[in-house]
């Protein structure tokens, strides 16, 4: 099998993952898109491991590492999503905007500490 086929498939998978991360509003779907990207990487690793005929099979070993880490990452990610949902009853990414800078909060003297501005807001509901 020519190396270009798995490479193209990996590129497609990665692109779908990027699209998902950038465009989906549901946090779980964003996590899944991240998984897609990781799997695209895995595919690339295996492909080039075979194509380059690596004696130590470093690509395959690294793939196993990535799978393990991806599992852990998904675990943590889902836990965070769960915690966010318990707090906010929503996992819509567009509405999780606590780092938002209010447009007319310009206070040149800094009479109000900047930290309070960030932490007190719950984001525009």
């Amino acid at each position: 099998m020519h190396v270009v086929y798995p490479a193209v498939v990996a590129a497609l998978l990665f692109s779908i993952g990027v699209y998902g991360v950038l465009a989906r509003r549901n946090t779980i779907l964003v996590l899944m898109s991240v998984e897609l990207m990781l799997n695209a990487v895995n595919l690339n690793l295996v492909t080039f491991d075979v194509w380059l005929r690596d004696q130590l099979h470093g690509g395959q070993v690294l793939t196993l590492f990535v799978i393990v880490i991806a599992a852990a990452e998904v675990g943590i990610g889902l836990a965070i999503v769960l915690a966010v949902f318990r707090n906010r009853q929503s996992i819509d990414l567009d509405r999780l905007r606590d780092l938002f800078e209010p447009p007319n909060s310009s206070d040149p003297d800094g009479s109000q500490p900047a930290a309070t501005k960030v932490t007190t807001g719950v984001g525009p509901e």
Binding site: R97, L99, E101
Partner: protein, 628 residues
């Protein structure tokens, strides 16, 4: 001997420290009436005992240095030939070391006697004059500090040590002129005196540096022995002359002295008549071998202008203390003229006798002012029956000022006129003419002040309210005992001191100046006889107003110097608030404005951030591929 000199300097200093720190503590820190009185009493004891001790030690020094084996043409070297010098320590500066040392010689002992006598008289006098003043402890401590500084100037063997005393004197003068600072005019007069003398002192300091660096030492003896090139000497002495003009109130830096009369009268007597203003003359006499002819000529021209101008201004004043202030300027110009004529001898002789009789005049004027409650001649008159002691002592003082025999002024003024007559200076005629005319004008203003104060009818009225801190209440009696005693004490040297110069008299020349003085006095007396109520100053005619305003010099300085500097300062303030601060504020505003654009990106949406990140990575990757 040096230990005694050091004690003379340090005792008043210790009294100043004790008076400042110890007059209320321990016990009586709170400001009740009783504690104030106790603090005043304690401060007076500190100050007077230190002054007595300093005087006693100075007299002992005089006895030690005296002898008849003196030589040379300087009269102090004749009477007080002994000398001693001691150095406490030498401070290495990396370049020219400063030797902290004192020197005792005839000149310094003579001046120290003047200083300590007048200081003692003034301390005792102040006890009566400022009875009940709540700031008396600091006042007497400052007088002690001043005395110490002046004695340091007198005994210093090193120019920088001398400069320390010189500056402390300026500080004390400032503090004491502004003693009644509640009145805005007083504190302004103090600031004026401080600034004007400071102007001269800067030049003085640079003169010291010039001399010190040229000679490689700041010790006075080394500098005199160094045989410096004439150019350096002219530069250095011209700079020194600035300090002399500032301290000794010579033209053109004399304008602070009449205003300095805002201080209490004893201060005027001590600082602004007898001692501090004499420091400039003393310095020139001390460093006289260094002064080349061109500098002396400049000094002579200034003196010639100053003596006549100040005497005319004195003739037109209505304020008794300002008359005395202008007469001080005029008499100091006499000393400067004697120096310019090449005779430090006559200058120091006149300095000493002037110190005595001018302090006497001021203290008498203080007694009169204390009695009348006003400085103005138009409020005085007919006081000779109410205050007989003051009348007689002040008569002695005025006679000495006019130069009538047998008072000290007669001998010393004659010595000055004689020195000018016999000098080889190119401006001899100018000095001689100016001196003679001034003798006449001096007679005129002295007799005018005398007549207007003590003769005529009494029109004394009690003031409705005494000025802050002053005992300006008319009670129709002679001044308190503590004030009368110093006056009587000072009348003795004012009357008799001149006889040490009797051997050097030149009677024809003395007769001429006596005649001129009597002529001036006679004209004023006739004018006064014809109209006792009118002010004899009307004799000046159209020149009266300019003389009263001291030839508008204050106004000229205000227009030429003070106002441009003030407007410049205002311009600087405007530049600071509008340009410098404006730039800072503007940059802050600009940053905030720009940040509102940057804030548009920060909308809290993590996906947007990631998009931006990706776009950046893509750009970098494309760039790396295309140009890498």
């Amino acid at each position: 001997m040096i230990v005694a000199a050091a004690l003379i300097v340090l005792l008043p200093f210790a009294a100043a420290v004790a008076g400042l720190l110890g007059s209320r503590w321990p016990g009586g820190v709170s400001r009740t009436e009783e504690n104030n009185l106790r603090a005043n009493r304690r401060a007076a004891w500190f100050a007077v005992s230190a002054a007595v001790a300093a005087l006693a030690l100075t007299l002992w020094l005089a006895w030690q240095t005296s002898g008849s084996g003196g030589s040379g043409d300087l009269f102090w070297a004749e009477f007080l030939p002994g000398s001693a010098e001691g150095t406490l320590t030498v401070i290495g500066t990396g370049a020219i070391p400063i030797s902290v040392g004192l020197q005792v010689n005839g000149l310094s002992v003579l001046t120290a006697i003047l200083v300590t006598v007048v200081a003692l008289a003034v301390q005792v006098y102040s006890v009566g004059y400022l009875r009940g003043d709540s700031r008396f402890p600091s006042y007497s401590a400052f007088i002690s500090l001043f005395t110490s500084a002046m004695l340091l100037v007198v005994f210093a063997a090193d120019l920088l040590v001398l400069y320390v005393g010189w500056e402390i004197m300026g500080l004390c003068s400032y503090l004491l002129i502004g003693h009644w600072w509640e009145d805005r005019a007083n504190s302004r007069a103090a600031v004026k005196a401080f600034l004007v003398t400071r102007l001269g002192d800067v030049a003085f300091l640079f003169g010291i540096f010039t001399l010190g660096f040229a000679a490689g030492s700041f010790r006075i003896d080394d500098i005199i022995a160094a045989n410096l090139p004439t150019g350096t000497l002219i530069l250095a002495t011209m700079l020194l002359l600035g300090g002399v003009a500032g301290k000794s109130a010579q033209v053109p830096l004399h304008t602070w002295l009449p205003d300095a009369m805002a201080g209490p009268t004893p201060i005027s007597a001590l600082i602004h008549a007898a001692t501090m203003v004499a420091a400039g003359i003393f310095i020139v006499a001390r460093l006289f071998p260094l002064f080349p002819q061109p500098t002396l000529d400049v000094l002579g021209v200034l003196a010639a202008i100053g003596m006549l101008g100040a005497a005319l201004a004195a003739f037109a004043q209505d304020d008794l203390k300002r008359i005395l202030a202008y007469s001080t300027i005029s008499q100091l110009a006499y000393m400067a003229a004697a120096l310019a004529a090449g005779s430090p001898n006559a200058a120091i002789f006149h300095l000493t006798s002037h110190g005595a009789f001018k302090a006497l005049l001021f203290l008498c004027a203080g007694a009169v002012i204390h009695h009348v409650g006003s400085n103005l001649l138009s409020h005085m008159g007919g006081l000779r029956r109410a205050m007989p002691i003051t009348f007689w002592t002040m008569t002695i003082g005025f006679a000495a000022l006019m130069g009538l025999p047998p008072t000290s002024g007669f001998f010393s003024k004659d010595a000055v006129v004689l020195a000018i007559e016999h000098s080889t200076s190119p401006i001899r005629l100018l000095l001689y003419g100016s001196a003679l005319i001034t003798v006449g004008v001096t007679g005129a203003y002295a007799i005018r002040a005398w007549l207007r104060t003590f003769f005529g009818e009494e029109h004394v009225q009690a003031l409705a309210e005494p000025a802050p801190g002053t005992a300006h209440v008319f009670d129709g009696r002679e001044a308190p005992r503590t004030m009368v005693w110093p006056i009587s004490l000072l009348a003795i040297p004012a009357l008799l001191f001149g006889f040490i110069g009797v051997a050097d008299m030149d009677w024809p020349s003395a007769a001429i100046s006596l005649l001129v003085a009597l002529l001036g006095a006679g004209i004023v007396y006739t004018a006064w006889r014809s109209a006792p109520h009118a002010d004899p100053a009307r004799l000046l005619g159209p020149f009266r107003a300019p003389c009263e305003q001291a030839f508008y010099l204050d106004r000229a300085y205000a227009a030429l110097i003070a106002r441009p500097i003030l407007s410049l300062a205002r311009g600087v303030v405007r530049t600071d608030t509008h340009v410098v601060d404006g730039a800072v504020r503007g940059s802050a505003r600009l940053t905030i404005g720009l940040s509102s654009f940057a804030k548009l990106a920060q909308n809290g949406n993590a996906q947007l951030y990631v998009t931006g990140l990706l776009a950046g990575v893509l750009l970098i990757a494309v760039g790396a591929v295309m140009w890498g």
